[in-house]
C-alpha cells in the first residue's frame, strides 16, 4: 500500500512504476551506484555483477512467462541456448555487429519458444510444462547431432568479441556497461509489458484461464505470447552470455540451469519484476559463496572432488525452492511489502 497522502486520482497514476519521491531518489541512487560500480568495486565483484545482470534479463523473462502468465517453463535454459547459439553463429560467420545479433538472438529464441507455446492451443496446465522439457531435449539433440559445421556439435563455438565503432568490448568493465545497458532496456520494457493490455491478459489467464476466456481473452494466444516474450528475454540474455564467456557449448544450457532460474523467481516472489531481480541477487550470491567455499571443503573431504560445488549448489537450491514453496510461497518481495506496510501504518495493526 502507498504511504499516507499518496493516492491515485487517475488510472495513469495508479499504474505508475515510481510512486513516490523517495522511490525516485532510491532508483536514481541505485542506478548511479551501478554506473559507478567499476570504479568502486574490485574485478571479482564486477564479474559477479555481470553474471547477475545477464541472469536478471533471463529471470525477468521467466517471471513474465511463469510469474505473470502462470505457465510453468522448464526450458528457459534451452531458449537461452538458442539465443546464445544464434548470436555466436551470426557473429562468427557473418561478422555482424552485436547491435544486430543481440535482437536477432532474441527473435530466434522467441520463435523457438513460440513454437512450444503454440501447443497451448491444445494443452492446458502443467502438460504445457512438459513440452518445455521436450524443448530442452530437442535443443540438445539438435546441437549435438546436426553437422558440426552448423552449430559446432559437442565442440562448441568460439565467439568473437563485441565491437562498437572500432572499439572492442572486452574486459569486465566494458562488458559490464554493455550488459547494464541491455539489462536496463529489457527490464524497463518488462515493466511496460506487464502494465499493458498483454500484461493484464497474462494475469487474467494465470488466475483462471476459463474465466479469462469467457471475458473475451484469447487464452491460447495469450499463453503462446507469454512463451514468446519469456523466450525473447532468454534469447537476449543468451546472446549477452555468449559475448561474456566468448564460448558457447551445449553443456551450459541444461535442465538444471532452467531450474536455477525457476529458483530465482520463486525466492524473489512470483508475479513481481523487482522480485525476480531480488531472487537473481540472492541466488547468485549463494552460488558465489558455494563456488568460493566449496573447493576448501572439497580439500577436506577429498572423495567428492570437484563435484562438491555442483552437488552443494543442487542441494541448497533445491532446498531453497522447496523451502520457499512451503514457508513463503509468495517470495521475499511479499515479505518486504508486509514489512513496508506495517511500518507505514504503525502503531495500528491495519
Amino acid at each position: 500500500m502507498d504511504p499516507s497522502g499518496i493516492f491515485p486520482t487517475s488510472y495513469r497514476t495508479d499504474r505508475r512504476v515510481v510512486r513516490t519521491r523517495w522511490q525516485a531518489i532510491a532508483l536514481a541512487v541505485f542506478m548511479g551506484l551501478l554506473l559507478a560500480a567499476p570504479y568502486l568495486a574490485s574485478g571479482r565483484i564486477i564479474a559477479v555483477l555481470n553474471m547477475m545482470l545477464i541472469s536478471a534479463v533471463i529471470a525477468v523473462g521467466l517471471q513474465i512467462c511463469t510469474g505473470y502468465a502462470g505457465q510453468i517453463n522448464l526450458g528457459q535454459a534451452a531458449f537461452m541456448g538458442v539465443g546464445a547459439y544464434t548470436a555466436s553463429i551470426l557473429a562468427s560467420k557473418t561478422g555482424m555487429s552485436f547491435l544486430l545479433t543481440i535482437p536477432l538472438a532474441g527473435f530466434a529464441a522467441a520463435l523457438f519458444g513460440f513454437l512450444f507455446g503454440l501447443t497451448a492451443a491444445r494443452i492446458k496446465g502443467f502438460y504445457l510444462a512438459l513440452t518445455t522439457i521436450a524443448a530442452q531435449f530437442l535443443f540438445h539433440f539438435a546441437v549435438l547431432n546436426l553437422p558440426s559445421s552448423w552449430m559446432g556439435g559437442s565442440n562448441g563455438i568460439t565467439v568473437p568479441p563485441a565491437e562498437l565503432f572500432g572499439f572492442r568490448i572486452v574486459g569486465e568493465t566494458s562488458q559490464f556497461y554493455m550488459n547494464l545497458a541491455v539489462a536496463t532496456i529489457m527490464i524497463a520494457g518488462a515493466f511496460g509489458i506487464i502494465r499493458s493490455r498483454f500484461g493484464r491478459a497474462f494475469v487474467a489467464v494465470r488466475d483462471d484461464d476459463v474465466a479469462a476466456g469467457i471475458m473475451g481473452i484469447n487464452v491460447a494466444a495469450t499463453k503462446a505470447n507469454a512463451f514468446l516474450i519469456g523466450a525473447f528475454y532468454a534469447g537476449v540474455g543468451g546472446a549477452l552470455w555468449a559475448y561474456l564467456i566468448r564460448f558457447v557449448g551445449v553443456d551450459q544450457f541444461t535442465l538444471f540451469n532452467s531450474i536455477f532460474f525457476i529458483a530465482m523467481i520463486i525466492v524473489g516472489g512470483m508475479g513481481s519484476i523487482v522480485g525476480a531481480l531480488v531472487g537473481v541477487f540472492v541466488i547468485r550470491v549463494i552460488q558465489e559463496v558455494i563456488a568460493t567455499v566449496g573447493p576448501n571443503i572439497a580439500d577436506s573431504v577429498s572423495f567428492l572432488g570437484g563435484d562438491i560445488v555442483f552437488a552443494g549448489m543442487n542441494v541448497i537450491l533445491g532446498g531453497v525452492i522447496a523451502g520457499s514453496m512451503i514457508l513463503e510461497p509468495k517470495g521475499l518481495m511479499h515479505r518486504w511489502n508486509i514489512l513496508k506496510s506495517s511500518f507505514r501504518i504503525w502503531p495500528f495493526p491495519y
Binding site: 502462470g70 491444445r122 521436450a134 539433440f141 562438491i308 542441494v315 537450491l317 533445491g318 531453497v320
Partner: protein, 294 residues
C-alpha cells in the same frame, strides 16, 4: 529377419521397463494429482539403497531386496512428510514446483552422500540371456517385463475396483472435494509416494542389474516421461501398450534409422512421439477427459 524380430522384442521389453518407471509417475498422479518431476531421482535413490544393502552390508539377495523395498518406502514416506504434507490445501502448482526443487535437491544429496564414483550393481537377474533360436533376450528385461505386467494389472485393479483405490481416485479429482467427503488427502498422498518409491526401486533393480551404478542413471526418469504421457497420466493399464509402442519405435529407430543419418535420433524419438500425442490427443490414449467448471 531374425534380428528384426529380436530388435522388436528387446524394444518392447525396454518399453515395459519404461512403463514400470512411468508407473511411478502415474501412481503418484493417480493418488495425489501431483506430477512428480523427481521420479528419476527416486529410481537412483532406490538403486543406491539396493547397492548399499547388498554390496555394503553384504546381505544375501533374498534378504536385501525386501529390505531395500521397505527402506525405499520409508524414503518416499519421509519425502512426503517433509515436503508435501505441508502443502495440502495450497495450489497444485506449488506441489509441482516442490517436486522440481526435489529433482535437484535429491540429485545433489545423492552426489554428496555417494559421490560421482561408478559402482558395480549387484546381479539380481541372471546375466546369461535367454536364447530363442537365433534370438537372445536379456533376462533382466524379460523378468522386468513380467513384473511390469503383473504390477500394472494389480494396481489397475486396485485403483479401479477396491474401495481404498477409489478413494485415492477421488483425491486425484479434487483435493477439496475429497477432503470434504471425509477422504484423507494426507493418507492418500503418503500412500502414493511410498508406492512410487517402491516401484522406482524395482525399476532400478531391473534397469541396473549387473551393470554399473552412477547418479547419471536417473535419466531413465525422463526417458519414461513420454510413456506416461502417451498412456494418459491416469491410466495404469494403458502404460503397457504405450510402453511397448514407444520401446519398439525407439529400438527400430536406433537400429535402422540412426546408422543411416549418423545421429542418435533414438534418444529423442520418444519426445517427438510425446509432442505429437500432446498435440493430437492431449489426454493421452487412456487419460480422463475432464470437464472444467469456473
Amino acid at each position: 529377419m531374425v534380428y528384426f524380430i529380436n530388435d522388436i522384442i528387446t524394444g518392447a521389453l525396454i518399453g515395459l521397463l519404461y512403463a514400470l518407471v512411468a508407473m511411478g509417475f502415474v501412481v503418484i498422479y493417480r493418488a495425489s494429482k501431483v506430477f512428480n518431476f523427481a521420479q528419476g531421482e527416486l529410481v537412483i535413490i532406490g538403486g543406491f539403497i539396493v547397492w548399499f544393502t547388498t554390496m555394503q552390508l553384504g546381505l544375501s539377495l533374498w534378504l536385501s531386496i525386501p529390505l531395500s523395498l521397505v527402506l525405499a518406502g520409508l524414503v518416499g514416506y519421509a519425502i512426503e512428510r517433509i515436503f508435501l504434507t505441508k502443502l495440502i490445501g495450497e495450489s497444485v502448482f506449488s506441489m509441482v514446483m516442490v517436486t522440481v526443487g526435489l529433482l535437484i535437491l535429491l540429485r545433489g544429496l545423492v552426489l554428496l552422500l555417494f559421490g560421482p564414483a561408478v559402482r558395480p550393481f549387484p546381479i539380481i537377474f541372471p546375466l546369461k540371456p535367454l536364447f530363442l533360436g537365433d534370438m537372445l533376450i536379456p533376462m533382466n528385461l524379460l523378468a522386468g517385463g513380467i513384473i511390469t505386467i503383473v504390477a500394472a494389472v494389480g494396481l489397475s485393479w486396485f485403483f479401479n475396483r477396491t474401495r481404498s483405490g477409489l478413494r485415492m481416485t477421488a483425491v486425484a479429482e479434487d483435493h477439496v472435494v475429497a477432503s470434504s467427503m471425509g477422504i484423507s488427502v494426507k493418507g492418500s498422498i503418503a500412500f502414493a509416494w511410498v508406492l512410487g518409491a517402491i516401484l522406482s526401486t524395482i525399476g532400478a533393480m531391473i534397469f541396473l542389474s549387473g551393470k554399473s551404478l552412477t547418479f547419471l542413471a536417473s535419466d531413465i526418469g525422463f526417458a519414461a516421461l513420454p510413456v506416461a504421457l502417451f498412456a494418459g497420466l491416469e491410466s495404469i493399464g494403458g502404460l503397457i501398450l504405450a510402453g511397448v509402442i514407444i520401446g519398439v519405435v525407439q529400438s527400430l529407430t536406433t537400429n535402422y534409422l540412426d546408422p543411416m543419418i549418423g545421429g542418435s535420433l533414438g534418444s529423442v524419438v520418444p519426445y517427438i512421439i510425446m509432442l505429437a500425442i500432446l498435440l493430437i490427443r492431449p489426454t493421452g490414449l487412456f487419460g480422463w477427459r475432464t470437464i472444467e467448471r469456473v
